[in-house]
């Protein structure tokens, strides 16, 4: 019998829907929800989708060390990747370095990882940040680890596709250089999104609700995907799926 839907499960299913039909999805460090989403999309793809997870031994196809993921991306061999940000602004710039006047940051974040490179090269970059507050979603980031948009003279084959938070989904319109509210998660509403978002964005008159995963998706998620993700993210798998099982 299925337990109650965990908020993480909704996010995983929402992100997984953005990956259907792709050939190769890579997942970076500290990304349990995107990682679970990629593994869910793979489970549904009948083997067509390849998933490469950093930090995993079972789900990494690479044999040439740390550089291979980046070489793959530059050649167009990776269709989707995930990035987050201590700050994300309305032009989809992301800041993974810190708050304040760099280098004298008031709050220091872990660092830019591969973002400065992959954001420009991977066609479908999904921004993911669970915390949806005006503190995170700011008018302008204090430091651009990776730019959301580039001038025409910059060779760019990749960029932001959507921003998924704990409250909603935004699509990104590269032409307008703006986000557009695509759906609001159950239990949240459009006014609340406006209140907790520090940047301006477009929104339709009627905002749809984010689709809930069906029973088959949840079974897959709580069974096979939970086992697979536990190898790389044991604490996350125990907290989310362990709790879901017990419910």
């Amino acid at each position: 019998m299925s337990g109650e839907l965990a908020p993480e499960e909704l996010l995983i299913a929402t992100v997984a829907d953005m990956l259907d039909g792709l050939r190769h999805v890579a997942v970076g460090a500290q990304s349990p929800i995107p990682g679970s989403a990629a593994l869910l999309a793979r489970a549904r793809s009948g083997g067509a989708l390849r998933v490469s997870m950093l930090g995993s031994e079972a789900h990494s196809p690479f044999t040439d060390g740390g550089r291979e993921l980046f070489d793959c991306a530059a050649q167009g061999r990776i269709d989707a990747f995930f990035l987050g940000g201590g700050q994300i602004d309305g032009q989809a710039n992301i800041n993974l370095v810190g708050i304040g006047d760099y280098p004298n940051t008031k709050v220091r974040f872990p660092g830019s990882f591969g973002s400065a490179y992959l954001y420009l090269l991977v066609p479908r970059v999904i921004l993911f940040r669970e915390e949806h507050t005006a503190r995170v979603l700011v008018p302008k980031v204090d430091f651009i680890s990776a730019p959301g948009v580039s001038d025409e003279d910059v060779l760019r084959t990749g960029g932001p596709h959507a921003l998924v938070t704990g409250r909603c989904v935004f699509d990104f319109d590269a032409g307008k250089r703006r986000f557009r509210l695509a759906s609001v998660h159950p239990g949240h509403d459009a006014d609340e999104i406006r209140e907790h978002t520090g940047f301006d964005y477009d929104a339709p008159d009627v905002v749809p609700e984010t689709q809930i995963p069906d029973a088959a998706t949840l079974d897959l998620l709580r069974g096979r995907v939970a086992d697979e993700v536990a190898e790389t993210y044991p604490a996350f798998a125990a907290r989310v799926f362990g709790a879901a099982d017990a419910a």
Binding site: A29, Q30, P32, G55, E57, F62, T63, D64, G65, G66, R67, F70, A74, L96, V97, G98, Y102, P103, N104, T105, R108, P110, G111, S112, F113, G114, S115, A116, Y117, L118, Y119, L120, L121, F143, I144, S145, A146, P147, S150, D151, D153, V154, L155, Y233, P234, A235, F236
Partner: protein, 274 residues
């Protein structure tokens, strides 16, 4: 054993203060036992290069005051959360941080292994990282096939690459399997110091299965046998992280006093007992 073989303490002595030291991330091969020996000998002013990031190893060395400069794409403890001594040092302004991005670090090392001054890298244009790096610039494709600027990353030549590996043989060949960032690190550095989990009884290069994953001894300056040498972060294919110890470390390292207590218990006391 040949003179190539030495003790962990000797490896730490041979990494001089101020050295540029390349290190692997926690999921690759970290010589944690040598990191503790560096702390115990009071190493100073090290310039750590995370290839491409550092984790607990970097946090411990930073907390112990061994590090002047940290060149890395990130400091990450993965699921364990923010790195406490790194965060404290960043807040206090006592650490010079050279912020980079993973592929640029790999590319800089690749330039060094080829003996060329720089390597072109895609992406990065438009990142504020570029404006803060005097060892990165931009150029264009001299053959005119690619439009737009390319980032040119100056070669990264570490004084020392310090790693832990599952196997080494008596000729100094070191097996690292698919963790080939350590191969590039060894090629790029002036000297490579290795601790090995186990000594392989034979020639790694004579085994067709093992040779493709082996760093030839010609790159290796010194080696020490150190079972469990990656404890507490773990070694790929061998053993996982010591979760209880790492959680205890995180709890203690939240404060200066707590971290000092951890150093006393796990770095200074074992050293004094030798």
């Amino acid at each position: 054993m040949s003179e190539l073989f030495t003790s962990v303490q000797d490896l730490a002595e041979r990494i001089p203060d101020g050295a540029k030291v390349a290190m692997a991330p926690d999921y690759s091969g970290c010589s944690m036992v040598t990191a503790r020996a560096l702390i115990a000998r009071g190493a100073k002013n090290l310039h750590l290069i995370g290839v491409p990031s550092v984790g607990f190893q970097g946090d411990m060395l930073i907390g112990a005051g061994c590090v002047e400069t940290l060149e890395t794409a990130a400091v990450t403890l993965d699921e364990y959360g923010p790195a406490p001594r790194f965060m404290a040092a960043a807040k206090a302004g006592t650490l010079k941080i050279i912020d980079g991005t993973c592929p640029a670090i790999h590319a800089g090392l690749q330039a060094a292994e080829k003996g060329i001054p720089y390597m072109p890298v895609r992406g990065i244009v438009g990142s504020d990282l570029l404006t803060h790096r005097d060892d990165w610039t931009t150029g264009t494709d001299p053959f005119g096939e690619q439009d737009g600027p390319l980032v040119l990353v100056k070669a990264i030549r570490p004084d020392v690459t310090l790693i832990h590996a599952p196997l080494a043989d008596r000729n100094g060949n070191v097996w690292i399997g698919v963790r080939r960032e350590m191969m590039v690190m060894a090629h790029a550095a002036r000297e490579t110091f290795v601790t090995a989990e186990e000594i392989y009884d034979g020639d790694l290069l004579a085994d067709e299965q093992l040779a493709p994953g082996a760093i030839p001894g010609l790159y290796v300056s010194a080696l020490a046998e150190a079972a469990n040498g990656a404890w507490p972060v773990g070694l790929f294919g061998r053993y996982g992280p010591d979760d209880a110890h790492l959680r205890d470390y995180l709890e203690r390292a939240r404060t200066d006093e707590g971290f000092a207590g951890w150093l006393d218990e796990f770095v200074y006391a074992p050293k004094a007992a030798e």
